[in-house]
Amino acid sequence: MTDTATPPASTADADIAAAKRRERYMSLAAPLGAFLFSVVASAIVLVISGSNPFEALSDMMGHASKLETQVSMLNRATPLYISGVAAAIGFKMNLFNIGVEGQYRMAAIFAAYVGGAVALPAPLHIALILLVAMTVGAGWAGLAGVMYTHRGVNEVIGTIMLNGIALGIIAWLVRRWQAGGDIAVVGIGTEPIDDSGILPNLTWLPEMIRDLKGARELTGVLILAIIVGIAYHVLLNRTVFGYNLRASGGNPLAARAGGVPPRRMALTAMFMSGGIAGLVGISEIMAKGRYNPNFVGGLGFNGIGIALLGRNHPAGIAVGALLWAFLDASSDILQTSGAAPKEIIDIMRGVILLTVVIGYEVVRRIQVKEEAARAAARLAEASE
């Protein structure tokens, strides 16, 4: 490694700037490469199964260029984004909150139940629903947090077990809290929430361009997702807490020596992650006005995937959520157009995720190596 030519001292700064630029390109290369790889891999699967991949791709692109599709993509991306941020807060602290899945569903059923049980003026009603959701989410995650900090129960195991417990409890609550209280009838869901508890939609926004076909609406929770994203960014980069969080996650020993209490940081991060996770189910509640037995699942695990895809960066997570939403929308069109089985989309998602994490790791290794080579060169230069 030391046989690389030593650069003259005057170009050292330019050298660092160039290296930084390269670093940025390379970290973009991983997700783009993964996406291309998954497109190629899916195309091969499609050819083997007897479909035409070009036809499928053109259907997907044509569908995505419609305003209606873009609105539904935003609707789908909203909860995914919030879920991604929830997972990312944990990741920043080196905590794996695998339990977003259980946290958001637990939060959703409590929020829907409370929302359906009270009558309040609009802003208060909405605030109450959000507050209940965040509190329950934070509490459920906090349980795993306390077990981690006070009993040394690994947070991955703790949250996995709490997921299982949450699903069992919800299966019971959804019958117990059924509208009308009649347990014999199944599948209705909780008492519907009054209009005062429903966030107003943003349908006027796309309708500034043109009227939407069908009864399509743009969810008002989008605003909430944007607020969550901005708050996450500010918290992480502009507050002492965010600095401590990143420090503890990056190097716990050094952070501890610097006076950051690791236990309290882990607990706070877990509570916050759970609080945000509690908001994941809100857009579904707002759309349906209740929690019903076929409430959307899987947002938690996909949120983890999206956080990984976006490298825990608020904008990166947004890109990941939109990509996931695009794939969801594509799955719809493939089903109606019949160009390819829609299940290919799920495979694409899996392939993207696996290749992207491998890609990031490979890029990281190359960067570490280059950094070492640069440092060695600098050292050799200084000793001359």
Partner: protein, 418 residues
């Protein structure tokens, strides 16, 4: 020191089992129910424990080699699909083998990501959890959808590989000779306690599927491979101190690969077993039902040992088996009494060890359990379904000092780096 620890291992296990059945018999007598020690319950427990145990043993091989595998559930799904496909096309035995291969293929991806590329184990596991159901759904659409009686979510019905009743113990035939049914005779005598023990034993020796017997033989086999062979020693070095192994010239990567692939093979076996007539009888989407995660739980409370994994799996399968036989829920209700009593015992033990927080915590949870017991007649199915997860959290909360996982478990290993 626990006086039980001084006994030889097999004797200790037998003593614990007998004690467990005694508790059940006493509780059964107190609460006046009849299904806690019923042969049908123990037979169902034996069957329902198989996928959990195999997933747990799978986790054991991976984690002993230092790789955490939370993708077990995904590998079970692959095993279940491939097992069903193989059974339909080539019969139950080939089906089992194909299911094992299916699970191993999923594990190969995990090994590639974690060992070769050094990706974090949890991240890779999550990716597999997302990808595996997608793959089987696609395959179902392509293949099962075209079969008579199949659809995108399920396969047609599957054949069984056959059953076996133990001769002499439970009256199975031996080379055409109808042997006596010794345990059945004991059950009929209905002596206190002995009758109950015989009933439980009768259930686990009567018409057991051959796959079940193979599955249980994996427990001593795993123990032998991991603790009595050179391969096992090296695999465990990879999980305890890979750098030390490296300095001995052991190819750590190869052993980690072996551990992870065996892990997927065992999980695949577990998945294929779910599709056999012993449990489901068909491939059906979602019927792995978190058993991969429960297997992970069995691995932890089993303290990363094969016999412990089996004990954990049986413990977790018991309430479930009881729930199937006990439709009115009054026998399951008695479990609340048992858990309440167990927590009081923990509370007393904690007091003697001067751990007062533990003492109060156990007493509070135990009291809650007892209050629930005395204020209800039956218990809902949902409680049975979450009981395994609760047990794990309680065990981890109160006994985590007694558990010891492999020292380098979950850490990324790179050759030549320390």
């Amino acid at each position: 020191m626990n006086p039980l620890d001084k006994l030889p291992t097999p004797v200790r296990w037998m003593a614990l089992t007998a004690a467990g059945i005694t508790v059940l018999a006493v509780v059964q007598w107190i609460t006046d129910t009849d299904k806690l020690t019923d042969a049908a319950t123990s037979g169902a427990m034996l069957r329902w424990a198989v996928p959990i145990m195999l997933a747990g043993l799978g986790g054991l091989f991976a984690e002993r080699a230092g790789v955490v595998n939370i993708g077990l559930e995904g590998m079970m799904i692959l095993g279940m699909w491939f097992g069903a496909w193989g059974t339909i096309n080539y019969g139950p035995w080939a089906g089992l083998l194909i299911g094992i291969i299916g699970g191993a293929l999923g594990a190969l991806v995990h090994a590639l990501a974690t060992v070769t590329f050094g990706v974090d184990h949890i991240i890779s596991g999550v990716a597999i959890l997302i990808a595996a159901p997608a793959v089987t759904r696609f395959l179902s659409l392509e293949i099962f959808d075209g079969y008579d009686g199949g659809s995108i979510t399920q396969s047609p019905g599957l054949d069984s590989a056959g059953k076996f009743t133990f001769p002499i113990l439970a009256g199975g035939s031996l080379f055409g000779w109808d042997s006596p049914d010794f345990l059945g005779w004991l059950v009929d005598k209905d002596w206190p306690l002995i009758g109950e023990i015989a009933d439980v034993a009768h259930g686990i020796t009567t018409s057991v599927s051959i796959f079940t017997i193979i599955a249980y033989s994996m427990v001593p086999l795993s123990a032998w491979v991991l603790w009595r062979t050179r391969f096992g020693l090296r695999l465990r070095i990879a999980g305890e101190h890979p750098q030390a192994g490296e300095s001995q010239g052991i190819n750590i990567y190869a052993y980690k690969y072996a551990g992870v692939i065996l892990s997927g093979a065992l999980a695949g076996f577990g998945g294929a077993f779910i599709a056999t007539p012993e449990l489901g009888g068909i491939y059906q989407e979602g019927s792995t039902n978190n058993q991969g995660f429960i297997g992970l739980a069995a691995l932890i409370i089993g303290n990363w040992r094969p016999a412990g994994v089996m004990a954990g799996a049986l413990l977790f399968a018991y309430p479930r088996a009881l729930g199937f036989k006990d439709l009115d829920g009054d026998s399951s209700h008695a479990l609340l009494l048992i858990s309440g009593a167990a927590l009081y015992v923990i509370s007393v033990l904690s007091y003697r060890k001067q751990k007062f927080t533990d003492m109060i915590l156990a007493a509070v949870i135990g009291s809650a359990s007892l209050i629930w017991f005395f204020n209800s007649e039956i218990v809902d199915k949902w409680f049975i379904s979450i009981l395994p997860f609760i047990i794990v959290l309680l065990v981890l909360t109160f006994f985590s000092q007694r558990l010891r996982m492999p020292a380098a478990d979950g850490q990324t290993y790179r050759k030549g780096e320390t």
